[in-house]
């Protein structure tokens, strides 16, 4: 619990990071949203259908639009409305639903951005004090290629989990188990169990990769394979604490999602009330991002506390070099 408290404190003491990752999320999403906006505008044109679409939900138009849509347009379905959007994404994640290429492309960009930022973020949380913009991005740069290599390992593991294990669990084992099942509740229990099995596997992988990142930053590791190996060792040695912390973080995630379920705005609004709802949604996105950061911060805290090196990072803060022009001016003086 102390790691959890300490981690939350570290995240809260660096609100700039939270704002920055939120801005990143908006930036990656915005171009596609702009593309969709153009498509929607073209679809509606000067039709009076726009009046009902603007003031509420014009389901008929939504259906007609999506029938003719391509690219991002095919995702413009009622699943985007309110809390349905969250369920849609969680369900797509756990059911490994195929998304359109353009969405996968955006997600890949987003993940790449997180890989870049991970070093700076964990370094900031590990040090427990401001590192400044220069220091932050310097750490991002230092660890980017290391985490890119780690990303390759992650990709292989997740590709195996989603491409093979998931297929085996849900496309082969599940139909086999439920072949003669005539009670939906029983089938749902089977599916829940398989979700649990698959979720534990994914969580275990995520846990180890998280600690691999933490160890890479705190201990300035260059070999990502050794970082993964060390992370595995750490988790084995501190099994209860690491898993307990992960579960606690997952509960935070569930709380954020649960709260949003209560207040998620529908789409039957217009004008100011719609934008208030949009702001609520952005608070939820901030909450999700906060939880993601808390995962890293608490894991960093736990790792440092177990090594009795709270706040210690082996690598000296990186000093961001001035530009050659600035250096020339300094030398001239």
């Amino acid at each position: 619990m102390s790691a959890l408290r300490d981690g939350i404190r570290r995240v809260n003491s660096a609100p700039g990071i939270l704002i920055a990752v939120w801005a990143l999320t908006v930036l990656v999403s915005l171009p596609l949203a702009a593309v969709l906006r153009g498509m929607l505008e073209t679809s509606l044109g000067s039709s009076l259908a726009a009046d009902t679409a603007a003031g509420g939900v014009n389901y008929e138009w939504m259906q007609q639009f999506v029938e003719q849509a391509s690219g991002v347009g095919v995702t413009f379905r009622p699943t985007i409305i309110g809390f349905a959007a969250v369920l849609d994404n969680l369900s797509a994640f756990i059911d490994d639903t195929t998304r359109p290429v353009v969405i996968v492309g955006a997600a890949a960009t987003y993940v790449a951005a997180w890989i870049f930022l991970a070093g700076g973020i964990i370094d900031r949380y590990a040090r427990g004090r401001p590192t400044g913009t220069h220091g932050f991005f310097a750490s991002c740069g230092v660890f980017f290629f290391r985490f890119l290599r780690l990303g390759l390992v992650q990709w292989l593991v997740y590709a195996f989990l989603f491409g093979s294990v998931h297929v085996w669990l849900f496309d082969r084992l599940y139909p086999q188990i439920t072949h003669e099942v005539t009670v939906e509740w029983t089938a749902f229990l089977v599916r829940l169990t398989l979700y649990l099995v698959f979720g534990i596997l994914v969580a275990a992988a995520a846990l180890i990769f998280d600690y691999a990142k933490v160890r890479a930053v705190v201990e300035d590791r260059r070999s990502m394979l050794s970082a993964v190996n060390s992370a595995l060792g750490f988790v084995q040695r501190n099994y209860a604490a690491a898993v307990g912390l992960f579960v606690a973080n997952f509960i935070l995630f569930a709380i954020v999602v649960g709260l949003y379920a209560l207040v998620a705005p529908g789409a039957g609004r217009s004008g100011v009330s719609f934008w208030v709802g949009f702001a609520v949604s952005q608070l939820y996105i901030l909450g999700r991002l906060w939880v993601k950061l808390v995962f890293w911060a608490t894991e960093t805290s736990l790792f440092q506390s177990r090594l009795a090196h709270a706040g210690w990072v082996s690598r000296a803060p990186v000093v961001w070099p001035d530009s050659p022009a600035a250096e020339a001016i300094i030398r001239a003086n």
């Binding site: 908006v26 999403s29 915005l30 949203a33 906006r37 929607l40 505008e41 509606l44 044109g45 000067s46 039709s47 009076l48 259908a49 726009a50 679409a53 509420g56 939900v57 014009n58 389901y59 008929e60 007609q64 991002v72 413009f76 009622p78 699943t79 985007i80 409305i81 309110g82 809390f83 349905a84 959007a85 969250v86 369920l87 849609d88 994404n89 969680l90 369900s91 994640f93 955006a106 997600a107 987003y110 993940v111 990303g151 992650q154 439920t178 099942v181 005539t182 009670v183 939906e184 089938a187 749902f188 599916r191 529908g266 789409a267 039957g268 949009f278 939820y284 996105i285 999700r288 993601k292």
Partner: protein
């Protein structure tokens, strides 16, 4: 006065005049009763084999003699992958694989003529494929007779068979200890003046048979509740762990049954001031125990509204079957029995189970009582019933909300922002639009392209019937449909019988409408091409161009609204490709709408039906792209969990 006489005449002619007994007997007969079956069958649930024998008494009610009998052996569609049914499944992109252990089939062990003469017909029987010549298809059996049966003459046939119950497919079969047994016995085709109408089993169409009396004794494990067409007249414990249930029903054209040890049995009653009471029996899955009343309520809705609109349900009893999960038996109609279909989680104000219950109960009227040929004109029951279902649903269950399902389809989420509408969702415009040109409705239903036939059968019919309702008015359409219902109850109507009734009763020549909706795959699409309004001296000159984008023609209204509130409605016959309207008014036009009352529900592109000079498309696009942005952000965060 004339209307009053029509109502009296309808009541006299309607099934109300016949008295439903509590034992399945109806007197006087409602139908010709020319195909009568006395069946004895027993089910071995372990081997999933049914052993059956039947005495069929058939009367030739046509004007032509016949020197053969033709039987449907539907279950042979699933004995291998070479049947026409399985080939059509493959054509539609579905799996055509059959596990040998789960295949279905029906094998005759004997067939004998016992009257008017006696003869063993076994040796002469042969499979035929009247629809596609598929030599591998064994779903139609031809049995030559040595002596023709003359018009008015009868024949009695003793027949015995063994049937392997398939893993549930096409709403029949077994899964676990759930058995739903339909299209399961050798069944005579329909002899018409043109010859035998006995189609092969197709993946996209249903059935056709003559009316008769069914007296069926079914032996199943003791203690297993059983539901079947008709009324249980007798139950005998055989002392060997089995029970024989004897069911009986007059004036039906099929017989289906179901058994499972898991069924909960519930009963209720439908009562109405002017319609006959109906005893309802529900066979319910235990996990749906809390939904019994929803099933009864939906069935009552059907019996009430269909009864008031078209004619009374004449049988006095109805069995509702809640099929087992993943049994593929849900949503199907049989005389006096139908399968509904619900989910373990079925939120209120969502169309499950009410929608499917109203629809399948509705088939008791459109299919059960009016017995059209579902092979050739499936739209005459499915389409009429889709229209009627939507109409009944929106009398009782409005609002109904869109429900989405997540996590393997188990977890529902109700989108309260989207209330479904009768016109769009009940009549299924979106599905029709997608497949509108796939087939002309007049094509025989079994020849529709397998995956798109449903849109033409169900959706297009519902849409053109609702278009007629909006065009002619409900009182007129109700008279059309009730007159047709009364005239063709317990008979086999053809499309022209309905078209003729529609024109006669409405007093309008509707041939052109039906030429376009029924005999063509053309689509309706009217729209506003251009709207301009500018100052011209001290007045405003407004020009409006409306266009017919589709091939089909329908008269439409055009509504022009001006900024001073003035509204001008024009009538356009819709024949030319476009029409220009010009107005000189003191105020600027604000909008124009083609078909402002949405009479023409078949219009495949309602978005282009209007144009405004103060468009809000930008505002709507901004709002919806922002809503989508949140979805995308959340989506990205799901992926980032792995980063």
């Amino acid at each position: 006065m004339r209307a009053a006489w029509c109502v009296v005449a309808l009541l006299i002619a309607s099934p109300l005049a016949a008295q439903p007994g509590t034992n399945g007997a109806i007197d006087p007969p409602l139908s010709p009763r020319n195909a009568n079956y006395t069946i004895r069958a027993s089910l071995d649930p372990r081997t999933r084999i049914i052993t059956g024998s039947a005495t069929i008494v058939w009367r030739n009610i046509t004007a032509r003699p016949t020197s053969e009998l033709q039987f449907h052996l539907y279950w042979n569609a699933w004995r291998d992958t070479q049947s026409t049914f399985m080939r059509e499944l493959a054509l539609g992109g579905a799996s055509d694989q059959i596990d040998a252990n789960e295949a279905g089939r029906i094998d005759l062990s004997s067939i004998k003529l016992t009257a008017p003469t006696t003869a063993d017909l076994m040796a002469a029987q042969r499979f035929i494929a009247p629809d596609d010549g598929n030599a591998h298809d064994r779903t139609v059996l031809s049995v030559p007779l040595s002596t023709p049966i003359e018009p008015g003459g009868s024949a009695a046939i003793d027949i015995a068979w063994t049937a392997h119950v398939p893993r549930t497919i096409a709403r029949t079969g077994a899964i676990g200890n759930f058995f739903f047994i339909a299209q399961w016995f050798p069944k005579l085709g329909v002899l018409q003046d043109e010859g035998w109408n006995c189609h092969q089993f197709h993946s996209g169409t249903e059935f056709f048979a003559d009316y008769g009396v069914y007296d069926v004794s079914l032996t199943v494990p003791a203690g297993w509740p059983l539901g079947a067409t008709g009324v249980e007249r007798e139950r005998r414990d055989n002392g060997n762990g089995t029970t024989t249930h004897r069911y009986y029903q007059d004036d039906v054209h099929d017989f289906a049954w179901t058994t499972s040890p898991d069924y909960l049995v519930r009963t209720a009653r439908f009562e109405h001031p002017t319609l006959p009471a109906v005893e309802m029996r529900l066979l319910l899955q235990p996990e749906h125990a809390g939904q019994a009343e929803r099933h009864f309520d939906a069935t009552r809705t059907t019996l009430k509204y269909y009864g008031e609109w078209y004619g009374a349900y004449p049988y006095g009893h109805i069995t509702i079957v809640d099929p087992a999960w993943q049994s593929d038996a849900g949503g199907m109609e049989y005389p006096t029995l139908f399968t509904a279909g619900t989910r373990w989680l079925a939120p209120a104000r969502v169309t499950t189970p009410e929608g499917v219950t109203v629809h399948e109960a509705g088939h008791q009227f459109w299919y059960g009582i009016v017995g059209n040929n579902e092979f050739e004109n499936a739209w005459m029951d499915e389409g009429f019933n889709t229209f009627s279902t939507a109409r009944a649903m929106w009398q009782v269950y409005d609002p109904n909300y869109l429900s989405l399902r997540y996590f393997g389809g188990f977890v529902p989420w109700v989108v309260r922002d989207i209330a479904l509408t009768r016109e769009h969702d009940g009549d299924r415009l979106a599905g029709y639009r997608r497949d509108a040109r796939s087939d002309a409705q007049s094509t025989a239903s079994f020849r529709y392209f397998p995956t798109t036939g449903g849109s033409i059968t169900y959706n297009k019919t519902a849409l053109w019937l609702n278009t007629l309702e909006r065009w002619l008015g409900w009182p007129t359409l109700q008279r059309v449909m009730s007159t047709y219902f009364a005239a063709w109850s317990f008979k086999h109507p053809a499309p022209d019988d309905f078209f003729r009734t529609a024109s006669d009763v409405s007093g309008r020549d509707l041939r052109e409408f039906f030429d376009q909706t029924y005999r063509s795959s053309n689509v309706f699409d009217y729209g506003v091409q251009d709207l301009k309004s500018g100052r011209d001296g001290d007045r405003y000159r407004t020009t409006l161009v409306v266009r017919r984008y589709g091939e089909a023609i329908f008269p439409v209204d055009v509504l022009v609204t001006f900024e001073n509130g003035e509204r001008v409605t024009e009538r356009w016959d819709g024949r030319d490709r476009w029409k220009l309207f010009v107005y000189e008014r003191p105020a600027r036009a604000s909008s124009a709408v083609v078909d402002p009352n949405r009479v023409l529900l078949l219009d495949v592109n309602p978005i282009n039906n209007s144009r405004t000079l103060a468009p809000r498309g930008q505002q709507a696009a901004r709002k919806w792209s922002a809503t989508w942005l949140v979805w995308l952000q959340d989506c990205l965060l799901s992926w980032a969990a792995l980063a």
